[in-house]
Symmetry: C2
Amino acid sequence: MPTTRSYGDACTIARALDVVGERWALLVVRELLFGPRRFSDIRRGLPGASSNLVADRLRELEAREVIHRRRLPPPAASWVYELTPRGRRLEPVLDALGEWGGELPRPPEPFALSAASVLLYLRGAARPDPAEPPATFRVELRTGGDVAEVWTVRTGDGRVQVEPGEPPRADAGISTDPHGLNDLLAEPSTLDDHDVTGDRAALRRLVRSVQAA
Amino acid sequence: MPTTRSYGDACTIARALDVVGERWALLVVRELLFGPRRFSDIRRGLPGASSNLVADRLRELEAREVIHRRRLPPPAASWVYELTPRGRRLEPVLDALGEWGGELPRPPEPFALSAASVLLYLRGAARPDPAEPPATFRVELRTGGDVAEVWTVRTGDGRVQVEPGEPPRADAGISTDPHGLNDLLAEPSTLDDHDVTGDRAALRRLVRSVQAA
DNA sequence: CCGCATCCGTTTCGATACTG
DNA sequence: CAGTATCGAAACGGATGCGG
């Protein structure tokens, strides 16, 4: 059964926490930052959360108009969750939390690390040279078991864009897992250890631009 | 007994929530944003939190170096809690949450509203005319029962500064309670309903500058 | 399989009472 | 004033069940 408790405090901070302050709520939002995701995708990004908890949070967040449940067009016949405009406005909150959390120690291994987490870090930390031509990358991330998610990462204009799903065309591709990508961003010289296709130099520039920051 | 559970997730957002994601934790930080406070001051700002919860959170936040427990110099012989540098760096998180929470409905009455909450709102929303001369205000807020807190509010340079405690000298003073001050900021014309001393015009300018925003 | 619902032991919360 | 002790209620976390 969904949680409805409130701080009973008119302060806007407390009102915000009434909606997204329950355990796992902001991490669910994190998983949706890059676009719609199915229930099982969300669960894969939050391996520590039990299924009923995720279902509860999704219901609560939907009731508060932070997320929206939508049926995919045929032939998918599946449901996806996506952020509403209100939910997308939580991005500054997650950015601020992520910035603050960067100074804290990591939990002991083994720890989770979702695709969304790493790509959020990549997008925030990479500073691609604006003079470089735009490039599109296919990033394949093995997320538990033999399941793999495919993401589209684009550079250009000194920015990095991230979207879930297969790119229509890619200059380069890399296949790894979230931990591997994270390690790569911390230590660009390990690029050769990874399964890379296409324009390796473009990928190298992207990865190195994280260090520059 | 303090909580030590972790999301077990290396994402910096999850690491931040490991430390300040427990219930009431960020509201305790809110109460300390303007300076050191005693246990009972914090409790008065969080009337919905039981004493053992507040004690637990304070211990946890101290262990994570978000706050620090310090003995006041004699003859006070009392203890205060204050933010560490790490704790002060949470201000952007609270700002982002407060901004987002502003669009949400208030809880049903009766709701709490601490002095820190209202003054946080005042400081964030007021846009005093930079051309006006600086002014200092004594703000006395009755916070439950017959207890009153005294705060110092200064304008100047187009900014508002807030500190707990008696001002050395004040151009004007107002005595009300947090709800009254909040209502006043929403409806400046009600200033005449309040107990004001000194330069009423300066206080009126401050209050009206919240509307301009 | 995916998307939950149900059950159940454990942890946390919240209210009240109590102590140095 | 500044907490601790206790206890029932709620929330969490893991396992399992089950319809589409």
